[in-house]
Symmetry: C2
Subunit: 244 residues, 2 copies
């Protein structure tokens, strides 16, 4: 039995997230249907994480097992020719039996794209969050850096997502401007439900003067979701790297 | 009666072209419905050109007349807040009564984007033509430059588009590579139906060695559509500038 690790990229605009759901168009359903067709047997894949509806991935890893002998190059080619054009397979390799895309994952990096221009860009529709107001990326960056470190992130977790253990380590975080685009980058050993989107909404509140840098530290300590900013829309969120 | 000139930008992926058609979603219908709502009276707009289904515009000019006194800035804001996010209004100004977006137009520039990489980019889906084969942009550029000048362009006109006069002047044309993107730029005083897409298909045939640079000159002289290359797909085509 082979164990395969696959790296994909997808534009999430048309999908209800990665995770398979019956009666709904999810990335996992589409990839499993394609793989089952190529391998001529029902195939189940394991993704490195769930993603919300409309969220994108520059790099998304999944793994699956198969008896099939088709070389990796052929699998890449076959999947890319059968998958819809908003999902691409970037790499595929045989890995040791104990590899699992989700359980072997040591961390992930997300990017959140804020298109900061007075007028929306039609070509960024569903690919970035359009925010037309004056934005101080340096202020947002200072506030973001306060989030770095090991904390209980309950204040940055969507209501239905709380677990027994909500402590995570944010290994790197920052906000940078590149032209009209303000980009939040967050790496962590794990993420709670909606964590990046709530961090982004909180930093936007800091930009607007509704919250201060001191407030950000206080919000983390409070473990109270109600004190943080709103959940930014999914359109700007990209899973950017997966670490093993 | 005011005469207004408006510059828009749109991603054509979801539309059956600019031109109004009953029962079909065209950019013109959407803009006219929005303007009629703002101006509280049925409003007809005149576009600088038709565009095919799926074709995009970085800059598209239309004009319309109205008795309404709302200042241009308010019209821009109103339209941008009501239009779907794949259509943006970039500018609006009062112009002399004799201005007409189509009849006053002195020329246009189109760009055609060829995404030249082995693996498709999910974020370029419907925004560029994915062409995975080895591409010699310099050869395509040499062939393209032979098209410059005043010619009868019947050989580069889609079957249903021939008119009494098929002579046009291509004022500038070239092919340039920028990373994975090979970009064809064509400026002319006017374009026949599918002209840029057939020029692009012909240059791709030159790239593949199916046609030579000599053939390109021969094809122009022949006025025979059957000798030119195929019509490249609409996804890569952008109306880029309109000259008055």
């Amino acid at each position: 039995m082979r164990n395969l690790r696959v790296t994909a990229s997808f534009c999430g605009a048309a999908y209800h997230g990665f995770q398979r759901q019956s009666g709904i168009c999810a990335v996992q359903n589409v990839i499993e249907d394609t793989l089952s067709q190529i391998l001529k047997q029902k195939t189940v894949i394991y993704g490195c994480s769930r993603t919300d509806a409309g969220v994108h991935a520059n790099e998304f890893v999944f793994s699956f097992r198969t008896e099939c002998a088709v070389p990796c190059r052929g699998l890449i080619r076959g999947m890319n020719s059968l998958l819809p054009d908003d999902i691409a397979i970037l790499a595929c390799e045989d890995v040791p039996q104990d590899f699992h895309a989700r359980y072997s994952c040591k961390g992930k990096e997300y990017k959140y794209l804020i298109h900061n221009a007075e007028i929306k860009d039609p070509f960024l529709y569903k690919r970035a969050y359009h925010y037309p107001y004056r934005t101080d990326a340096e202020l947002m960056d200072r506030a973001a850096r306060l989030i770095k470190g090991t904390h209980d992130f309950s204040a940055f977790c969507g209501s239905s997502g709380l677990k027994d253990d909500n402590v995570r380590t944010v290994t790197d975080i920052g906000v940078e401007r590149s032209g009209d685009m303000v980009v939040l980058t967050v790496s962590a050993d794990g993420f709670l439900y909606n964590m990046v989107r709530i961090i982004c909404g909180t930093l936007i509140f800091v930009n607007e003067g509704r919250l201060s840098c001191d407030d950000v530290e206080r919000i983390i300590r409070s473990c109270n979701r109600d004190l943080a900013g709103p959940t930014a829309p999914p359109d700007g969120l990209y899973l950017n790297k997966v670490f093993y």
